[in-house]
């Protein structure tokens, strides 16, 4: 199993070391292993999870909500309750997506105004 230290994970994802340590502290992204000396070791699965987190950030989820969503996404697909919760998340995410697109439109209005000066 190939692993990487926190610095490599940070560089590959553009996240800060502090953010990764924070995600560990609150249990959002706990490294799969540690060296005897205490260095965090991340696997490719950890990297994938972090990329999911990174994709969720623009939608404005709190770290707590991300943890819930990842828990539901990791749950077995044949569990009815989990499927229902997942469906709720999708509806919510679509609302957030619409707001993000509205934000982009606002930003473009701003750029137009700025260029017109």
């Amino acid at each position: 199993m190939t692993t990487m230290q926190i610095g490599e994970l940070a560089e590959r994802t553009g996240m800060s070391l502090r953010s990764l340590r924070h995600y560990d502290e609150i249990g959002l992204l706990v490294p799969s292993a540690r060296t005897d000396g205490g260095f965090r070791l991340y696997t490719d699965a950890d990297l994938e999870r972090l990329l999911l987190i990174r994709r969720m950030k623009p939608l404005g989820y709190s770290l707590d909500e991300m943890r819930s969503l990842l828990a539901v996404a990791d749950a077995p697909t044949d569990d009815a309750a989990s499927r229902a919760r997942l469906a709720e998340f999708v509806v919510d995410a679509e609302g957030r997506r619409a707001r993000l697109e509205r934000d982009l439109a606002w930003a473009d209005e701003f750029l137009e105004l700025l260029r017109d000066r």
Copy 2:
């Protein structure tokens, strides 16, 4: 001169009362007047300024940066130094705009993954 109280401004822009009071505290958006009793009174010009602020928010400016940018935008157009600073802001804003669009693309990746489950 027609004015409005903080509640109306909040409702018309979707901002919280607390945010508007905060913008007043730090000098980002100071109401043009107050009643004798101390109620904030906002003009249409104040509303326009707030709409500008709202358009800047998605680009991730700090409130301090917004204040600087608004100061430059309000400066006379024939001042060479101001024009130069404005041009810098435009370059910076375009970089932020690109990042925002990248964020939207990431969000869409997330939605795809979520729907595929």
